[in-house]
């Protein structure tokens, strides 16, 4: 096989993979020499066995050297880290260099500047709001990438697999777990209530967008596990899901941009501090993104569709 040919075939394979067609490639094309492992109860052809053995020996010699190198690297890293630990200041002392004027300022001025008695919430959503915006983008991008990799439809999945999934779903629908359904019908309302409470109370007590959003996502996951995907699609299908997560991120961007342009850093802005200032609406936006991310991961890894 000459070079450009190989390159071209690689490129076509890559573009097929990007377009989600790689799964349709029949097995004979994927493994030109046939399956490497001998079929059970059957002696493999001499040619394959020998080449596989040779390949395995080469790999084995490489891997034994690799193991040694890995152990050495690991021991060196742990040694360096332990030496650093010996030089660290004592644990839990008030005059440690980490407890400097920055944290003092956040604690003393935080409530009057951000309207959040919870100093961590005030810090991550107001003083360091850009950082948290980046985090929300990371979550958004992660769930988008998982969508790209795992979303199943007619184009990228073998019809046999699709038929099997449909069969399994039908079997699941006909025999749902009664205990799971009864218990979850009792506790799902409380999970959602507690999630919303944590979300809306994030500036006053431990909690906020990330923990409240995870609880809401967990409630959605329990609902799907108990009642099946057909039932949740009546109110939470792919379209609603996409609107919710895009709206969450947009809401955050618009609110934080508004806050920056009307005077950040304690200068007057137009949201009254008595209702938590900017913290409350941004918490809701973060909660939307996080809940959608949690549910999206679950849906992608179990079924490959929303």
């Amino acid at each position: 096989m000459n070079k450009p040919d190989e390159k071209k075939s690689r490129w076509t394979r890559f573009s097929a993979w990007v377009n989600g067609k790689s799964v349709i490639i029949p097995e004979e094309d994927l493994f030109p020499g046939g399956d490497l492992r001998p079929a059970p109860g059957k002696k493999c052809g001499r040619e394959f066995c020998r080449s596989a053995e040779r390949e395995g020996e080469r790999l084995y010699s490489f891997l034994s050297g690799y193991t040694f190198a890995a152990v050495v690297v690991g021991v060196i890293v742990i040694g360096i880290l332990m030496a650093t630990v010996m030089a660290l200041p004592r644990f839990g002392q008030p005059d440690n260099p980490t407890n400097n004027e920055v944290s003092q300022r956040y604690l003393e001025k935080g409530e009057e500047e951000t309207g959040a008695p919870n100093a961590v919430s005030g810090m991550i959503l107001n003083y360091r709001g850009f950082d948290t915006f980046g985090e929300s983008c990371v979550l958004f991008l992660a769930v988008s990438c998982v969508f790209m990799l795992l979303l199943r439809d007619e184009k990228n999945t073998h019809p046999k697999d699709l038929a099997q999934i449909a069969r399994e779903e039908a079997a699941d629908d006909s025999s749902r777990d009664v205990i799971l359904q009864q218990v979850s019908s009792m506790i799902i309302p409380f999970i959602f209530l507690f999630g919303i409470y944590t979300l809306l109370n994030g500036h006053l007590s431990p909690g906020g967008g990330f923990s409240g959003g995870s609880m809401l996502g967990g409630g959605l996951i329990l609902y799907v596990a108990a009642y099946g995907s057909r039932k949740i699609q009546r109110f939470f299908n792919g379209k609603v899901y996409n609107i919710a997560r895009v709206c969450g991120l947009m809401l955050y961007a618009i609110l934080f941009g508004y806050y920056i342009f009307t005077g950040a850093n304690g200068l007057p802005n137009h949201i009254p501090l008595s209702i938590g200032g900017l913290i409350l609406p941004i918490d809701v936006a973060v909660g939307l993104v996080v809940a959608c991310t949690m549910y999206g991961f679950y849906a992608m890894f179990t079924k490959g569709e929303l």
């Binding site: 030109p32 742990i78 660290l88 604690l107 992608m300 890894f301």
Partner: protein, 123 residues
């Protein structure tokens, strides 16, 4: 020895980090590698959270009229741990999705078998 005992959380974090690193380097199964990566993440979170603690102080939720920094622990490491958790969750989900695709394409997630199959395919 006393320094190690005083910084016991940092020592635990280093040990956990070492376990995670060894898992990542030595395991042949891709999912076990990801588990090792998560153990390393936990070690970093433990170290950060322990750095924020101050003896005899309470969680940084400022009570009415008690905005005195000498009463509360340091809130900054807690915020950094939050960032770390978000990144860790995202990376774990993404790499697990990649592993699932690898399994669909090659039928194995053991690294040595995988290398052999990729080589076979390239020939």
């Amino acid at each position: 020895m006393r320094a190690l005992l005083e910084n016991r959380f940092a020592v635990t974090a280093v040990i956990l980090f070492g376990i995670g690193l060894a898992n990542m380097l030595l395991q042949k199964n891709l999912i076990k590698k990801i588990v090792g990566f998560n153990i390393m993440d936990s070690a970093v979170f433990l170290l950060l959270a322990s750095r924020g603690f101050v003896e005899g102080r309470v969680a940084p939720i400022v009570a009415e009229g008690m905005a005195d920094a000498s009463l509360y622990i340091n809130p900054i490491p807690s915020g950094l741990v939050l960032t770390g958790i978000v990144v860790s969750v995202s990376i774990s989900a993404f790499s697990l999705a990649l592993v699932q695709r690898i399994y669909h394409a090659y039928g194995t997630i053991e690294l040595d078998e995988l290398v052999m199959r990729v080589k076979k395919e390239a020939d």
